[in-house]
């Protein structure tokens, strides 16, 4: 499987101000089509909100962008260069990092071990716990993430703290692009504030472009510059945040739902 369409020409992309672009991304799982001809662009330093209902294809798109799975067809262009992501590690080496919905934290390991998961500092054959402990501590302080101790297993942290550790970990390697899958899911107001603060902080620093996937988008609207609505595997709306509102987005989602319902009733 490759990420290039047979017909896709390598036309030059104005990389100025644009860090990532997806062209005609399609993903099929057997006979099920999860994404159809998705086109998406992400500006440098921009925070893009990717919203849509359950099963619309948000997470599928994220998993393609972070190298977890390849698209059936279509291509990804990073800073003007078409790329084929071979693995999560490969994507990470190109500066694309993701925070998954389940956070990819290992409960039994400590905060610092999780921060360095699969990126351990090693003086062969041993891992360098002292160095990792110190760097994890410094990095979390820098990010303004408050954790009682980096030696605590992540099982002991609250939901917000866990999410914050996962986000802090993903910006550890100084990525160009950060993908956040449902960062506010199942989180209280206070917990969510930790994450929104963190995102705002990253945005202010301006080194990283962010795509936030959200199911309940009311919260993320305040940090996003632009919103893409994804419905039935396609992007159906692309607007600047200040040109739209939670009401408009809700109406669109509801309208889509009604349409689908009617169709189902008709065919029944």
């Amino acid at each position: 499987m490759t990420a290039t369409t047979p017909g896709g020409q390598a036309r030059p992309v104005s990389s100025d101000g644009e860090v990532l672009r997806c062209e005609h991304i399609t993903k099929n799982y057997g006979v099920v089509t999860a994404l159809t001809d998705v086109n998406l662009r992400l500006g440098r330093g921009e925070v893009l909100g990717l919203i849509g209902d359950n099963g619309a294809g948000k997470s599928t798109l994220l998993k393609i962008l972070c190298g977890f799975q390849p698209p059936t067809s279509g291509r990804i262009i990073l800073e003007g260069q078409p790329i084929v992501l071979k693995s999560v590690d490969h994507a990470r080496s190109l500066g694309i990092d993701a925070v998954y919905q389940d956070l990819a934290l290992v409960n039994q390991l400590t905060v610092f071990q999780n921060m360095f998961l699969n990126r351990e500092k090693v003086r062969w054959p041993l891992v360098r716990n002292q160095v990792m402990r110190k760097e994890a501590r410094e990095h979390l302080d820098e990010m303004g993430v408050h954790i009682p101790s980096v030696n605590v297993p992540v099982a002991q942290l609250s939901g917000g703290q866990r999410q914050a550790v996962a986000v802090a970990r993903s910006v550890f390697s100084d990525p160009k692009i950060l993908l956040l899958d449902e960062p506010l899911a199942a989180m209280g107001v206070k917990e969510g504030a930790i994450i929104l603060d963190l995102i705002t902080r990253l945005k202010r620093e301006g080194n990283v472009s962010i795509i936030i996937i959200a199911h309940n988008y009311a919260h993320v609207l305040e940090v996003c510059d632009r919103i893409n609505l994804i419905q039935g595997g396609q992007i159906t709306l692309d607007k600047r945040t200040d040109e739209t509102s939670a009401e408009e987005l809700t109406d669109l989602v509801v309208a889509e739902y009604r349409r689908a319902l009617e169709e189902r009733q008709r065919s029944a």
Partner: protein
């Protein structure tokens, strides 16, 4: 991952500033138990040793009896348990390793006596066959996705059949060309236990201080998360099956030299079950993500002393199985309860 496990229990509830009165006391008990998980097994082992020492005196302390405990009993269980701990942490198990113990010496014997292999090369292949069996177990478990309990049940029976058919159920003498190498492996009476101690230290370091160990814990603790973090989870599982198989081959050769004989009944299910029992009473749950190498070693010591001591004090060895069974259930309940309490402590 003993020290993280300890820490996780030790710090339970701390970030939230502690729960109400009874919960607090409960947590303190859990904390102590948790931190002392290996210590608990160590104390049981030491207490048993003292009991038989006082009760039986010189018949227990006699060199021949001590050799029986440590080299006949503890060493093989402890060495096989090293592999089982790594597998149990990944959420897998190997039921076939006991038959690798039996098969490896026969393979060596066939290669030398029927195919004229040089001794060292035959030993190499005897060790390799364990790795190959591990890879086959890995293939069916990881790639074909048959649960490892079933996979290794199958490969175990196949190996048993291979041993019995090819040997016609007959023991064989050790080929002359490899007799000399035996002194490096286990001719010396204490050699098996020295191997066991050295390997235990090595595997403890691998589990707690290397990427392989941390990734093994990650695979058991959060399979999807480990995959998302880019860990090659299949490689970890394959590797741990292969390590376990290699340890089975090693124990097989050791026992061959130690007993100065190749027999079709070496190893078998009993040793595998003892090894898993050692791991479980040592504090390794099959719940994934937690386990301790040191605990498994002392678990093997407990089994080794009991197996030797009971006949000494005139108690039927048949009773042992009841005691081992009870010990497994008690340890497992303790493990499950500890995990449950730890989870409660965090909310």
């Amino acid at each position: 991952m003993s020290d993280t496990a300890e820490r996780s229990i030790g710090k339970a509830g701390a970030p939230q500033g502690g729960a109400a009165g009874t919960g607090d006391t409960l947590m303190r008990v859990v904390r102590v138990l948790g931190r002392q998980r290996e210590a608990t097994v160590f104390i049981i082992a030491a207490a048993l040793f003292l009991y038989f020492l006082i009760d039986q005196g010189s018949s227990f302390t006699a060199k021949s009896n001590q050799v029986t405990i440590w080299s006949d009993n503890v060493a093989p269980y402890a060495i096989i348990a090293l592999g089982e701990v790594f597998l149990l942490i990944c959420g897998e198990i190997d039921l076939s390793v006991g038959f690798v113990v039996g098969f490896a010496p026969y393979l060596m014997h066939y290669l030398i006596d029927f195919y004229a292999f040089p001794g060292l090369l035959a030993i190499f292949f005897a060790l390799l066959v364990g790795v190959v069996v591990g890879a086959v177990n890995g293939f069916f478990t990881v790639t074909v996705r048959v649960p490892s309990f079933i996979t290794t049940l199958g490969t175990g029976f196949i190996l048993l059949g291979l041993i019995n058919t090819t040997s016609h159920d007959q023991p064989a003498p050790i080929p002359a060309s490899v007799l000399g190498i035996g002194k490096w492996i286990s001719n010396y009476a204490w050699a098996p236990i020295i191997w066991a101690v050295v390997l235990t230290v090595l595997f403890h370091i691998v589990l707690t201080r290397t990427r392989w160990g941390l990734h093994t814990v990650s695979v058991g603790g959060n399979l999807l998360g480990a995959r998302e973090a880019g860990i090659r989870v299949n490689r970890i599982k394959y590797g741990n099956f292969m390590i376990t198989g290699l340890l089975g081959s090693l124990v097989g050769l050791q026992q061959m030299y130690y007993t100065n004989n190749i027999t079709p009944t070496a190893g078998s299910y009993q040793w595998m079950f003892y090894a898993v029992t050692a791991a479980v009473i040592g504090g390794t749950a099959m719940l994934g993500g937690t386990g301790t190498i040191i605990g498994a070693f002392f678990g093997a010591v407990v089994l080794g002393i009991l197996s030797d001591g009971f006949p000494l004090i005139g108690v039927s060895a048949d009773l042992l199985s009841i005691i081992f069974g009870g010990a497994i259930l008690v340890s497992m309940v303790a493990n499950v309860q500890l995990t449950r309490l730890r989870e409660r402590g965090q909310s």
